[in-house]
Symmetry: C2
Subunit: 433 residues, 2 copies
């Protein structure tokens, strides 16, 4: 199709949903994709642009003039437009904003750009339907029809006083069922959840999820209604967070995808492997310190990978549960109780696994004392690993560091070292080498 | 407060949002919680019940009579009511359904219970606003007011033909702006995304996310409109899936939480540790096979935890990227290309890490040949681990098994064994022991 049959393409793609157009764009090389974007009306392409992968979008935008970008922005919601502008280089940002014909939109974008990236201010859209409490229902419907043109989806109608301060909300349903002459002040719902522009994204997501909200109004410190956040933005945020946590647990930093370039993937993965390498070299150093065991009990060295694996696995399990609990806000009770519980759990698991080790030792005819030594030190290693796995994320969280970093290579590596040291130390005490 | 001051409590809690009531219920013991549920109006408690943790809800429900449960159900949306009934024991299910006064609701619940747990049918609610294409706008508004009473939130109005088959949709906004006398057939939007009752939940989530939908209609095979799925149900589903994947990667099966009992946690965690244990015993066996190296090159045994850690980390990284890519449907290109890319990535990482090992060897004055041996075998181990980490999830996915199971202990354990074997085997070839 890329023999530049502009007309035909235009007709073909006009029928498609923007999300499908986005998929087609991702399959094309940047030249063809840019050609398509220029060809189609910005009404479709602006939505499709938003759906694109960041990397692809960046490439396409770099081939468009500031004027062309400005045209796309005019078709977008303010929050999306602001996101796109934020991705551009500083100089181009200025040019693009100047090229936007709609002064109000330009002002909105500049406002949104000024908020901190992780706050409700940066997440919100300026588009919303708001009415004053003094209006009548009929007047309100008239005004709403006018406002609703700019708002893709009306979730709630927000009610403000004459200074623009948020007073309550009104659903379309209520409006439909209210008598025409009633004043808004008589029919609106004064109870309304809201967040301020400085509320953190995570808190916004928590509130919206807890109260099952589909949109939430955003106000400034004085209570003036500034914008609203809709559930789809929050869903994207939740998905991204979950993926980031998952990657972090697997030792991948940054937000990479299977289709990113080898260099991007290396940058995301190599640092964690280097951390693991240093951990491994640490273990080498520890074992050299117990070298005298080599002659009498070489079997201990065969068991080190097992001990390290157990320490790592238990640590990851404990930390994953805590990290998830912290994210969902359901880690209750004191740190002390939590640790007691983990110790109990580790005891049960450790005893069960220790018995298996002794059983294995008996079957292969291993020295009984060696089997017991291995079982006892494994039990201790499991308890310590569980404690570290529980303690570290909680402490990180209390200090305001994302506890997700504690799952994965970080905890595995430190538990490997701890575990191996503990193993040889306890063995030395029991076996006197 | 639990001195049974019924009136006072009633007034106090009446002011609260149901999500807050739910939080209070979770803090109480089951007796007090049941007391509260009985005390409050089912309008509040039914919503609060839905927000509760499964375990807590189960305990409370077991203390309520079938009649009391039926009363709670009557205040719920059909999808929530069906979920609750599904959680009950079979005999009580029957009794509760018989006690429901609203026959229509009882029939809806029975219908919803019949769908497969993982399909759109089980996820959908029967509540929706539907209008016939032959109606006028004015008639439609009248009818809507009636229907809307049962629907908590009106997302879209669905338009059907006279046989109840889905024809299109209409937004409240469109309805507000349409002339009163127009027929629905002139104003509705004939393009509408939908799913059938047999569509899998994952597919529903994908479609709703891709097209940014807040509700999607569900039809049967003949195209008859049966219900709708709203975004909040999908959000719960996505959150649950992400949490399950995260736990699976950490070696925790089942859906447990930090606050579950020690026994539940043991059941979720111990099996994976046992798997790890068997893996570790496998390594012991392998190393015994290379025992002759003990006298000449004991240093190799100090390096096994490092090799195992590398094999595990790389495997987890590769599999996590693939598992996530598969979930998001963005693993493109052939399996062969994917493997080539992973090998490239592994080569870069492996070479970088190998050089570090040689550097370390030089610093501590280690035998040059031994350092090179370790570096070379580590490079091979990393490549193999990356291949296994990529290959296994893809194969599992092709066979219809959840690839998420491949990340975590499963891949770590098998890569540990592979890695250690490869390490000693390559060392044996180079060092001739």
């Amino acid at each position: 199709i890329s023999v530049k049959d502009g007309k035909g393409l235009q007709e073909l793609l006009h029928e498609l949903h923007f999300a499908d157009v986005a998929e087609i764009l991702e399959e094309l090389n940047s030249d063809d994709a840019t050609y398509l974007i220029k060809l189609l009306e910005s009404e479709i392409t602006s939505e499709a642009l938003m759906e694109l992968d960041d990397d692809v979008r960046e490439k396409i935008l770099s081939r468009l003039s500031p004027k062309e970008i400005a045209e796309e922005l005019q078709e977008m919601d303010t929050d999306d437009a602001a996101d796109i502008v934020a991705e551009l280089d500083d100089e181009i940002q200025q040019e693009v904003i100047e090229k936007i014909e709609d002064d109000l939109l330009a002002a909105d974008i500049v406002e949104l750009l000024n908020y901190d990236e992780d706050t409700a201010g940066a997440l919100m859209a300026k588009e919303l339907v708001k009415v004053k409490e003094t209006w009548t229902v009929a007047g309100c419907v008239r005004e709403m029809r006018r406002q609703a043109k700019n708002v893709t989806r009306v979730h709630s109608i927000y009610v403000t006083d004459k200074d623009g301060k948020l007073k309550g909300r009104l659903s379309l349903k209520d409006l439909l069922t209210a008598p025409e002459k009633a004043h808004i002040s008589e029919v609106y719902i004064p109870k309304v959840d809201y967040v301020t522009v400085n509320t953190e994204n995570e808190e916004v997501a928590r509130i919206m999820h807890k109260y099952d909200l589909e949109a939430i109004p955003v106000i400034d410190e004085e209570g003036v209604l500034l914008g609203r956040i809709t559930i789809d933005d929050i869903m994207d945020f939740i998905k991204d967070e979950a993926e980031k946590d998952y990657q972090m647990a697997a030792g991948i930093s940054g937000d990479v995808e299977a289709d990113d370039s080898i260099w991007q993937l290396t940058r995301a993965r190599l640092p964690w492997l280097v951390l693991g390498l240093f951990g491994g070299l640490g273990s080498v150093y520890i074992m050299q310190g117990f070298e005298e065991a080599l002659t009498q009990y070489p079997i201990l060295f065969f068991f080190t990978p097992l001990i390290a694996a157990m320490a790592g696995n238990v640590g990851v399990q404990s930390s994953a549960i805590i990290v998830q609990g912290l994210a969902n806000d359901n880690v209750k009770g004191s740190l002390f109780n939590r640790l007691i519980k983990e110790v109990g759990l580790a005891l049960i698991n450790g005893l069960a696994l220790g018995l298996l080790v002794i059983l294995f030792g008996t079957i292969v005819g291993q020295d009984q004392l060696v089997s017991i030594t291995i079982a006892v030190s494994m039990l201790s290693v499991i308890i310590v690993a569980a404690l570290v796995g529980t303690f570290v994320p909680i402490v990180l969280d209390k200090r305001g560091i994302d506890p997700a970093i504690a799952t994965g290579p970080f905890i595995t590596t430190s538990n490997d070292i701890f575990g191996i040291f503990l193993f040889f130390w306890i063995s030395k005490i029991i076996l006197h080498f």
